[in-house]
Amino acid sequence: MKILHICDHYRPIGGAEKLLFDTLEALENNPNIENVIAMHDYPENKTTGARKEYIINDLDIQPISWNLIDYLIRGIKSKKSLRSIIETEKPDVIHIHNLQNPFIISESIRKTPTVRSVHDPRLYCFNNWRILRKDKKICPYPLGIRCVTEGCLWSELLRFSFEGRCAIPKYFSYLLHRKIDKLIVESEAMNACVLQNGYKKEQIAFLPNFTKTFNFDDVMHRSEKYGNPEENSILFVGRASFEKGIDYLLEAVARINIPFKLYLVTGGPAMPEVYSKIQQLSLSAKVEVLGILPYEKTRDCYAMADVVVVPSVWIESFCLVGIEAMANAKPIVAFHTGGIPDWLIDGKTGYLAECRNIEDLAHKIEAILQDRIKAKEMGINGYWRVHEKYNIETYLAGIMSIYINAIEHKKQKDT
């Protein structure tokens, strides 16, 4: 089977991209599968030679309001390049990973069975993150009237902006996605969001993320080697941005009464704010910023940590960090939101705190740090849970059946 994968970023920048690479590698273990990839021509995107790779100009274009003509021209160009790739490669399935470009979507669904991974709410939210502009609350509404009344649609219009994006092409992309053969959702919460927005039940395929698993003794040995019994280490891994909740985490740790050290594996545009928050809460001595690290290095951090915190405050679609921490046998404290309760079993693999409740978060982190035996037990529970549910075999079987279903679905539709 030949699969054409389409993605914007082809380098390890976040969870979605890590999953992309893991998926490609996993598929390539099967000799009957041939992967071909088409990526946007970001300067940082590089061909790897691991598979057939095409770089398409303007694959990932944004409908900037003040320059829509440019957008249309580039959109048509991207459609043409994709068409020629489809014609030469003749893939059995197209798998779109993280892309909104309606020109590309329409070209993909024209003749070939198409599958789409949904990693975030961009598909059905003009705001991208489903966080309301006015009060920063999580948005429970479907695309429609509230996008107007909550101001998610208009703000770009009021002032002149170089980045302001026009929502109309996005709406087209949303509509086009109704014709896609399979939408892959990662969690119950996302499933609800997709259904809420009018996508059909038959169209949705449920497939949680997976992560590489390691030998149990090796994981335990690493924890011993890297861990520091004298220190209570708390670890955060993720983007420095509002929705990932790093602010909430800093507020929470400021309320912890036992000695601790917080390690932040993070980076991004919000870093100045993170630093000023650290100073403002007088946490400088207790927080260490490690920057953005490759997964190998992050694994060392997991091994060192006593607890991993996932303080996300949006409808987290799945949160790969969670199962990565579990694969490294670490207990987790997280806010109860989005896909997190799917993998975090309260009291068994960590604790769920009430979403955005700082006191609760602080209290639960402290509880884990104070009971090391229980913490270890939770970590081990998590390790086995990943082994059972979020492993490569389950994922591969799942994704293969999704591809096959998509092919069948397309056939039925055509006849």
């Binding site: 590089k46 691991a50 509404y141 770009e156 302001g164 929502a167 609800a192 630093y275 910023v289 309760p341």
Partner: protein, 622 residues
């Protein structure tokens, strides 16, 4: 046989490994299957190299190893052995030729080492290996036998014309775009420069191809790869002046119309005006000279067998012919010192070169300088771990007259000559009060502050950086002695950005800086604002590679500003049309909003809490 050849990654990119392509050309000629993994170009992790090796499933895996890539090569070899055990590992290249004994003992994965050029010996090896014959008679190899190292006699190839052309097609994912074709017209070097390992690596006997054969190779390259440029990699391209002249004449006669350059350097005493002019006519654009030191005593002691006077005249000839001239210098030659380097810099300035690079000496084992340093000085690290002239600085040794700290200073002095001069000038002017500096830096990695600290102890520094970069700055604010640190607060709104910048630059203007440093990776638009608004007394541009400092009155800078203004003017009509259209789009947008308001609705989600489950409420919200 199936053979995988690996070029391990190092810091310097952009060129192919010609040695491996020669081997591949020869092997393919004899009917073997060859793949070259150029990890230096692919920028991959060594794990993925191991995965690829496993997939390719070769019988022999060969590594081409320079001292600077040795650690990486051995690591990759180990990683491959872990995954795929069916191939034997062998190695060749400069480092192996010099240090095969230690390499064999320390890296049991590597079973055979090939010394020097191996075009013929490798074929012999592969053939014997395939037939299961004894390998011990292969010339120029070393291997371990019961714990002791056995070496067979090395043979140099006399008839270079007989070798097949290198095969670049064998490289996985080879990118032919802007391919600078690497050409070797001769091998070996008869000189005995004390710091150089080429005599040991390529042989002391100089052997050359006929100009006719090299021209034929270029013709074929032009046909296959449509090359426009080539580079001559010989160690002694001009050793025989007549041959070099003949090469140029043939280039001209055949109307090849290719640009080329000699950046591996030619000897200054092997050039006359006639040759320089012929080279220029044949398409040569730039020539490098190994000048090494401008200090006569040091220069004589390295046994180059030239004089500084010959350097002066060679530079003159090259310039007279209309080519660019580049000089290479070495910091840390025996007898040199910080003062000596200052003299070298003076000499270099007097030459008015088009480019120059200074590198800290790497004492390679088995060279004369290595023995001198071992005797009189101190080796500070395994030479494999040295950074080999990359942008990270390592000092691999020190000598009584040239301690480590001085060598560091010499490095900064040579690299940042203009910055140093500018700061000296200001220091003299403001003998008491600290110099006030503003640094605008949106680049990814600038080494400016590190450099600054090397030249000045007392300064008053403010930094304006990008939000992406601020991480580092905030972390090291104290260590880098930054007074006022600001990160650009990016807003999607154009006017807000403009307001922020104007306001900030106005405050900067009031502070009356002595110098403004501006990293050229920073948005170019901002430079215009900076110059117009902050109006610094002096300003310097730090260019992309971080090494060159340009000054306000440089031609390059003026050209740059002019270009920016021109671009702005050209883009203006497009911008105006877009502005006008924006209004139309706004109207469409209003209709779209109305459509959403009246036509679209759906259920809302009640998100779960620890006590309540997730619900989709079928409630209309109108």
């Amino acid at each position: 046989m199936k053979i995988l050849l690996i070029n391990p990654p190092g810091w310097q990119k952009g060129s192919t490994n010609l040695g491996l392509c020669y081997l591949a050309g020869n092997l393919i000629d004899k009917g073997h299957k060859v793949l070259i993994l150029d990890l230096n170009a692919a920028d991959e992790l060594y794990e993925s190299a191991a995965i690829k090796a496993e997939k390719y499933a070769p019988d022999i895996i060969g590594f081409s190893i320079k001292t600077s890539t040795a650690n990486m090569a051995f690591l990759i070899s180990k990683e491959i052995k872990k995954r795929y055990k069916k191939a034997i590992h062998i190695a060749g290249g400069p480092h192996i030729t010099l240090d095969y004994k230690v390499s064999l003992v320390e890296n049991p994965e590597i079973e055979y080492c090939f010394l020097g050029e191996s075009d013929i010996s490798f074929i012999d090896f592969v053939n014997r290996f395939e037939k299961g014959q004894s390998i011990k008679e292969v010339a120029g190899i070393a291997y371990l036998d019961k714990g002791s190292v056995i070496v067979t006699e090395q043979k140099y190839i006399e008839e270079l014309d007989n070798l097949p052309y290198p095969s670049f097609d064998a490289i996985e994912n080879f990118n032919f775009k802007d391919f600078r074709y690497p050409l070797i017209t001769s091998r070996g070097c008869p000189y005995r420069c004390t710091y150089c390992c080429v005599g040991l690596v390529c042989g002391k006997k100089w052997r050359a191809r006929t100009p006719e054969d090299t021209i034929a190779e270029l013709k074929s390259a032009k046909k296959i790869f449509a090359i426009k440029t080539f580079e001559i990699l010989d160690d002694n391209f001009t050793l025989k002046l007549d041959r070099a002249k003949q090469f140029c004449r043939l280039m001209i006669k055949n109307k090849l119309k290719l640009n080329w350059y000699c950046h591996n350097g030619i000897r200054a005493d092997k050039l006359d005006l006639e040759l320089a002019k012929l080279m220029k006519k044949a398409g040569c654009t730039s020539v490098a000279l190994g000048i090494e030191s401008g200090n006569a005593e040091v220069f004589d002691s390295i046994k180059k067998g030239e004089t500084l006077a010959s350097i002066v005249s060679a530079v003159k000839y090259i310039k007279m012919a209309g080519m660019k001239v580049v000089g290479y210098f070495i910091i840390g030659l025996p007898g040199d010192s910080l003062n000596g380097i200052k003299k070298t810099i003076e000499f270099q300035e007097s030459l008015e070169l088009d480019g120059y690079t200074y590198g800290i000496l790497n004492p390679y084992p088995h060279t004369e300088v290595y023995d001198i340093i071992k005797r009189d000085g101190k080796i500070l690290m395994d030479i494999k771990d040295s950074s080999h002239f990359s942008s990270t600085l390592t000092i691999p040794f020190e000598m009584p007259g040239f301690p480590k700290e001085d060598m560091k200073k010499a490095h900064y002095l040579s690299k940042f000559q203009r910055l140093h001069k500018a700061l000296e000038f200001l220091k003299n002017k403001h003998s008491k009060k600290p110099i006030k500096i503003l640094y605008i830096d949106f680049s990814e990695n600038s080494i400016f502050l590190e450099t600054l600290a090397k030249f000045l102890d007392n300064y008053d520094l403010d930094v304006f950086c990008s939000p992406w970069k601020s991480d580092d700055y905030f972390k090291y604010k104290k260590a880098r002695k930054i007074n006022d640190l600001r990160a650009f607060k990016y807003s999607p709104y154009f006017l807000k950005n403009l307001k922020n910048i104007l306001r900030l630059f106005n405050t900067y203007r009031k502070r009356k800086y002595d110098i403004l440093f501006y990293n050229l990776r920073t948005q170019k638009k901002m430079l215009l604002f900076a110059l117009l608004l902050i109006r610094p007394k002096n300003f310097y541009l730090e260019s992309e590679d971080g090494y060159r400092i340009l000054m306000a009155n440089d031609k390059e800078v003026r050209r740059f500003l002019f270009k920016k203004i021109k671009e702005l003017i050209i883009r203006l009509p497009k911008v105006i049309i877009s502005f006008l259209l924006t209004f139309l789009i706004r109207i469409a947008y209003v209709f779209f909003g109305l459509f959403l308001y009246f036509k679209r609705t759906g259920p809302i989600i009640e998100f779960p809490t620890p006590n309540t489950p997730l619900k989709i409420k079928d409630k209309e919200i109108k």
